[in-house]
């Protein structure tokens, strides 16, 4: 495995822990209780389809899949996601809108579910930061 593949693998294992991290957080699930939506998170070249049901992450599937629908997408380069998931990300890598402003993330599709549940998504997306905290 070369270095790029190893790095991509590390991001894959991080994002695949998202359901466990979110669903174990009762307060966060409660914050998203009225939300059921399919979201696309693109980490580098790899799409992940995240299905949220009543604030819980029902499943996350690695793509690409043909003819898969989603409501909105957050697409970012691998370096940006890796920085974003550090326990204390550097300035301009600590928030999805900061990353979007600098061109590292792109927000696409119907942004209504994102904006109507913004505080929910902020903490869902930041949840992997807790992995590094636990490892220390």
């Amino acid at each position: 495995m070369d270095q790029a593949e190893a790095a991509a693998d590390d991001l894959a294992s991080t994002i695949e822990k998202l359901p466990t991290l979110v669903n174990a957080d009762a307060a966060l699930v409660r914050r998203g209780r009225s939300l059921t939506v399919d979201v696309l998170l693109e980490v580098g070249a790899t799409p992940y389809y995240v299905s949220i049901v009543g604030g819980r992450i029902d499943r996350i599937e690695r793509g690409p899949q043909v003819m898969r629908s989603w409501s909105f997408a957050i697409r970012g380069d691998a370096r940006a996601w890796r920085q974003f998931w550090q326990p204390f990300p550097p300035p301009h890598f600590h928030d999805i809108f900061a990353l979007a402003k600098r061109g590292h993330f792109r927000l696409e599709g119907d942004l209504y579910p994102l904006m109507a549940h913004l505080l929910y998504f902020k903490d869902v997306l930041a949840a992997p930061r807790r992995l590094a905290e636990g490892a220390r």
């Binding site: 204390f88 300035p91 301009h92 809108f97 979007a100 109507a116």
Partner: protein, 283 residues
């Protein structure tokens, strides 16, 4: 056991703004040089409660924070339900000068954050002789907008929650969780459309890039302090502004964002105390 009470007193001041009667809420603590604090867009004077309970500051400064009309406990003027709220450079400047004059403050220091940081530049341009010093937190003559403000006021999105959600990312990840969420609570309590109305001033009306050359810091010292995690008004935005103002002092604050005084009061006092000491000791 004696009750634990903050040394902060809140009162209401009656003034006319834009020819209409207003009842303005303000809080204060301490004595000495008046230090008037201006809150951010869509929030209120509670952001400054830590300055008001810091004996190192209140020993020398009378710290005063008023809520702009429509914010906090300052009600909107009679007839508000038939109009769209919009803060302008003129109405904001009038509110500050009227407030200071009504309380008979002698050459106050004005410290403002975000929109408050923008308006202190306008005070420096047009009214420098009225003030002892001006401090802009997260201040720049102009910044490019980074989101569509129509999300802030629509019936199918909770205004308080979306406003809080947007500004949540402007704080540093190192800031204490309790202080961050308290900062967000103020946004959640803001009235419908108020944050958006403040942004009319910030985004549309108050592009001061062509006017800051006229600031003379020999008349009134100007301090510009910006948090490294503020991606709305970045340290680079502040430096770009200060480069055009001879004598303006710039400080980048580490491990804070757009709300230094409320998101991390301990970190902020490391930066603000030396500035206030200099303001106090310069005759």
């Amino acid at each position: 056991m004696a009750p634990q009470i903050d040394p902060i007193v809140g009162r209401y001041l009656h003034v006319k703004l834009q020819q209409r009667p207003h009842r303005i809420y303000f809080e204060e603590a301490g004595q000495g040089i008046p230090l008037v604090c201006l809150h951010t867009a869509g929030s209120d004077g509670r952001q400054f409660r830590h300055l008001m309970t810091d004996a190192a500051i209140t020993e020398y400064f009378r710290v005063i924070a008023f809520d702009l009309p429509w914010h906090g406990k300052s009600a909107p003027p009679e007839g508000w339900h038939d109009e769209e709220y919009r803060l302008t450079t003129a109405s904001y400047t009038e509110a500050i000068r009227t407030f200071c004059a009504a309380l008979e403050l002698d050459h106050p220091v004005v410290l403002g954050c975000s929109i408050g940081g923008r308006i202190v530049l306008n005070l420096a341009i047009h009214h420098a002789r009225e003030f002892r010093a001006l401090v802009g937190l997260e201040s720049a003559a102009f910044q490019p907008p980074w989101y569509d403000a129509s999300w802030l006021h629509r019936p199918d999105v909770h205004g308080g929650e979306v406003c809080a959600g947007l500004v949540s990312g402007l704080m540093a990840p190192q800031s204490p969780k309790a202080a961050r969420w308290e900062t967000l609570w103020h946004y959640m309590q803001s009235g419908p459309g108020v944050f958006k109305g403040d942004l009319y001033f910030y985004r549309v009306d108050a592009d001061l890039r062509d006017a800051i050359d006229r600031i003379d810091t020999r008349i009134c010292p100007l301090y510009l302090m910006t948090g490294e995690y503020d991606f709305s008004c970045t340290p680079e935005d502040t430096v770009r502004t200060a480069e055009r103002i001879p004598g303006a002092e710039v400080l980048e604050m580490k491990e804070v964002g757009h709300f230094p005084m409320s998101e991390n009061p301990q970190q902020f006092r490391r930066y603000i105390l030396p500035v206030l000491d200099r303001i106090r000791t310069v005759p």
